[in-house]
Symmetry: C2
Subunit: 196 residues, 2 copies
DNA sequence: GTCTATATTGCGATAGAC
DNA sequence: GTCTATCGCAATATAGAC
């Protein structure tokens, strides 16, 4: 593991936990057990390292969209596959949600990286829900854009709120899979046509 | 408007837009058209000013909970009142959502302020939904904690995602009231007993 | 590719005049 | 209560040895 990889790993943890502005290159170098000059050498500076971390973090998200949209699934099956994929991606990459909401609330110069990914997800979900309405699986009075926001909000909030929930709820009450099953059930009851 | 008030106003805008760590006391003093020494004098330092801003921002949220829970409403009516209140509070205080998610993703020493408010909201909603199940308005197989997270996620995501949505969607398609009507409809379809 | 040393700028906090 | 001036320190970036 060379200095470049060690800096990427240290940057992932530190930037996720403290935010871009609150992390210094000295701190990064110490955590990576190397020296701060290598950040400029390998990444062109602190901003470059942050952008590299962001791109690496969102690679699994890109893969999720490609996968959930690729097969010959019905719209409702695609929504289900997406929800399962979100659960898996966030479970395996617990820092993604922090980077996402950190850029949402306080955008940095690397905001464009997030922008691209969010637009892709939005378009995938919008398309899926529009098809669901067209083929009769979903309620015809549904506003597809609003249905997208409701779904994304339900999925993401579970993860971003985990730390604060654990500060006032018993941690052993956490069952990720059960939340996603329940949330999907509520959502589909809310958007599907009765009788399906 | 004395220096204290001007610093609070400048701090609200700057901390909301850039985050705590990315704002300097010089920047704050310049925006408030005063000088940086007064931050220490009035608030005991930059952290003190930030904490004061946070407390001021979340006062309308406290008022919302007191109001939505006080009357003799049915659980479903209370959920509806809460949703309307969320819309109103975020419309009148557009920075609250940034402070909330900024502390969620990158907690500062003032995190405790948010923690208190979030716990109060959670408990109010949990209680409301538990009552709704008990009195037969809501589905008996509902997990109340999960129903709370789903509702809060749907409401909040609309506001925190507004800037990024406007970067790839036409801004004139924004209808706050319509989203909240639609989201509430979807949610209630998802959690209410059939036939109510 | 990795290191030490350093240049330069900006930071938060405070002393002391008014 | 508000101001100027400044202290001590930490920030990022870079020059140059190996």
């Amino acid at each position: 593991m060379d200095a470049r990889e060690k800096l990427l790993a240290a940057g992932t943890r530190l930037f996720a936990e403290k935010g871009f502005a609150a992390v210094s290159i000295r701190e990064l170098a110490q955590a990576a057990q190397t020296n701060s000059a290598l950040i400029s050498y390998h990444f062109g500076g602190k901003e470059g390292l942050y952008a590299a971390v962001l791109k690496q973090q969102f690679r699994p998200v890109e893969a999720l969209i490609d996968k959930a949209g690729g097969d010959e699934l019905t719209p409702v099956e695609r929504i289900t596959a997406y929800a399962r994929g979100v659960l898996l991606v966030h479970t395996q990459n617990p820092y993604i949600i922090r980077f996402l909401y950190s850029e949402f609330s306080n955008p940095t110069p690397a905001f464009a990286v997030i922008q691209t990914e969010v637009r892709r997800i939005y378009q995938f979900l919008y398309q899926t829900i529009a098809e669901g309405i067209a083929c009769g699986q979903l309620r015809s009075d549904l506003n597809p854009g609003h249905a997208v926001l409701a779904l994304a909000g339900m999925m993401n909030f579970y993860f971003i709120s985990r730390p604060i929930r654990q500060s006032f709820l018993p941690a052993d009450a956490e069952h990720d899979t059960q939340y996603f099953t329940d949330a999907l059930t509520m959502y589909l009851h809310g958007v599907m046509k009765h009788g399906n």
